[in-house]
Symmetry: C2
Subunit: 239 residues, 2 copies
């Protein structure tokens, strides 16, 4: 796939506060324009990378929505995360020079390709970038701790409520509604992420609707009672 013709410039990108360090000098900011080698479009359903593929770059999502998932030899499939604009994808590949999961676009997407050797080289020159990279990695570790808590100790309702609240919060940080969202993934993918079967996800949605917490029309979800969802998550002080 040939690189797109247009000029890439992080310093002008309207997502830069999401994926670049803030408070850079002019000079440093211009250096970071070298970070992005090219952009790449990924069609809905296509993979940005697959398990086993050589690790070359990290990817900053410009538009679109991804899932990452691991598929084991024995047929298990676990969605490890959903990523949206401004988030960084590919961190799993650093340790072994190969990717260890699949990254699949759930809608047509575009990413900035940041070759990892450039990231490392620039990090040595620009401490703010170095720190930023460390924080991105650490943030992912902390996020996964939260998922472990969810998978290890929450019941189905708590998991789904947590999931919905997390999604709207991230969407809201990107300028979308606090109460309305469109799910880009199937019930099965939600279930895989939450450690539930798709039927359980569907039933739990239905229960939320009965209780007046949300409206659900297929993948369109409107949150009617944020506090109610929060109280579901925090209700289980009983352990």
């Amino acid at each position: 796939m040939p690189p797109p013709p247009y000029k890439v410039a992080c310093s002008n990108c309207n997502l830069r506060e999401l994926c670049l360090p803030s408070g850079l000098s002019e000079a440093d900011a211009r250096k970071l324009d070298e970070l992005v080698a090219t952009r790449r479009k990924v069609k809905r359903g296509a993979a940005l990378f697959n398990n086993g593929a050589p690790f070359m770059a990290l990817y900053a999502i410009r538009t679109g929505f991804f899932k990452t998932c691991i598929l084991t030899e024995d047929g298990r499939n676990q969605v490890t995360g959903f990523q949206m604009a401004g988030e960084i994808i590919g961190l799993d590949g650093i340790v072994g020079d190969r990717h260890t999961c699949d990254a699949i676009a759930l809608e047509d997407a575009e990413v900035c390709v940041m070759p990892f050797d450039r990231i490392e080289a620039l990090s040595r020159e620009v401490p703010a970038l170095q720190s930023h990279v460390h924080k991105i990695l650490s943030r992912e570790i902390v996020r996964e701790h939260g998922v472990m808590l969810l998978l290890g100790s929450m019941r189905a309702e708590e998991r789904l409520a947590t999931f919905l609240l997390n999604l709207v919060q991230r969407l809201h940080a990107r300028g979308f509604s606090q109460s309305e969202l469109v799910l880009r993934m199937t019930r099965e993918e939600i279930g895989s992420y939450l450690g539930l079967k798709l039927e359980t996800v569907s039933r739990t949605f239905s229960r939320f609707v009965e209780e007046g917490l949300v409206q659900v029309k297929q993948r369109h979800v409107r949150i009617l009672n944020t506090a109610g969802l929060r109280s579901i998550v925090n209700a289980s002080a009983c352990r």
Copy 2:
């Protein structure tokens, strides 16, 4: 607690191949001796750090055994990992300048304190160290993907078998037996890590004993049939 009097030198440490980059030049290796500011002893049951504590350093475990866990306001408790000699602890603190979990020694332990500003400064000078730090962070992310798979898709027997196999494998890499191990944690801590109740852990151990897979005497475990445990893990190709 005053720093111990003896001289700290990574270049002589017999764990260096576990926690330092390999293939360094003499000069670089000597530089890395600056990495460890001091050592610190942690008594069994004491915390190396607590949730909310300011993040200053990463810790390389010299001796002993730790658990990391998150404790939420609403009383949930999730063990996020068990760490042994040569492993690095504290990565969760980088992103927010505060630790987000507790690190508790499960037996008397000693750690090397590596102030993070020194790590960052040296990383800029020694590319091999920079790469090493990135790999440590990425490895933790990949490890947690595995835990998500376990928590999201495995049944109790599979979880415990996976856990035991992982523990002996890591111990074996440190020169211990492939088949014998002493659990440093309680059934409840194992259960928390595996998303199970302590009674389920105990029952599953008993079932393994009945089936002749292991011998269990309190915390002493001898693996009698490694292949049998493996087949439990991989048995569920049925999804």
